[in-house]
């Protein structure tokens, strides 16, 4: 299976703290994408990191990619209650044009 798996499955933090979510995958990839999903809502694209990039920032988000370990992390700094959502990593399927999604990390930020 090529699917990404996020860790932890659930994370609960206080507002203002940082949240780190990890994703592992099994095959070689040329990019990895992170998405957010509020409960019962659509998937919002957060960031795409390419295999030749080690780190990427977007606002309060920082994504790292370690292709040797086949893992990625998403760090949300100074979390807010509005960051409460599920976060998924997604990797392109080898030789195909679709994404495999992981199981997601459910983040709860307590005000």
């Amino acid at each position: 299976s090529q699917q990404g798996e996020e860790d932890p499955q659930a994370l609960s933090i206080q507002e203002g703290e940082n949240a780190t979510m990890n994703c592992s995958y099994k095959t070689s990839i040329n990019n990895l994408q992170w998405y957010r999903q509020n409960s019962g809502r659509g998937l919002v694209h957060l960031i795409l990191i390419r295999s030749n990039e080690r780190e990427k920032h977007s606002g309060r988000l920082r994504v790292t990619l370690d292709t040797s370990k086949k893992s990625s992390s998403l760090l949300i700094t100074a979390s807010r209650a509005a960051d409460t959502a599920s976060y998924f990593c997604a990797t392109p399927r080898t030789g195909a044009n679709n994404l495999f999604f992981g199981t997601g990390t459910r983040l709860t930020v307590i005000p």
């Binding site: 040329n30 998937l43 399927r93 044009n97 994404l99 495999f100």
Partner: protein, 116 residues
């Protein structure tokens, strides 16, 4: 910011009925997709569509499913005879280029399908 729009947001249907879910992808995008998410489970790929034909499909996308781009703007998913296990959130998505070439796939808000 351009977005993928889906209708209806929620549909309840009797088992065995046909359902059509509609989507308007982002206007300059060339690749179109349907994914689904059964409640509490992973997001799963169903089908991708390019140049007016299906380019890839998963094992979930059996003969009960079909897709169409009837008029150059809408992209539809039809389920011919719904089953209880078709109950899920269905996401339409689009991208300018292929995801394995580093293109972002943008998703709509989803259509909740409940089969009773």
């Amino acid at each position: 910011e351009p977005e993928v729009t889906q209708t209806p947001s929620h549909q309840v249907t009797q088992m065995g009925q046909e359902v059509i879910l509609r989507c308007v992808p982002i206007s300059n995008h060339l690749y179109f997709y349907w994914y689904r998410q059964i409640l509490g489970q992973k997001v799963e790929f169903l089908v991708s569509f390019y140049n007016n034909e299906i380019s890839e499909k998963s094992e979930i996308f059996d003969d009960q499913f079909s897709v169409e781009r009837p008029d150059g703007s809408n992209f539809t998913l039809k389920i011919r005879s719904t089953k209880l296990e078709d109950s899920a959130m269905y996401f339409c998505a689009s991208s300018f280029g292929q995801s394995n070439s580093g293109n972002t796939i943008y998703f709509g808000e989803g259509s909740w399908l409940t089969v009773v």
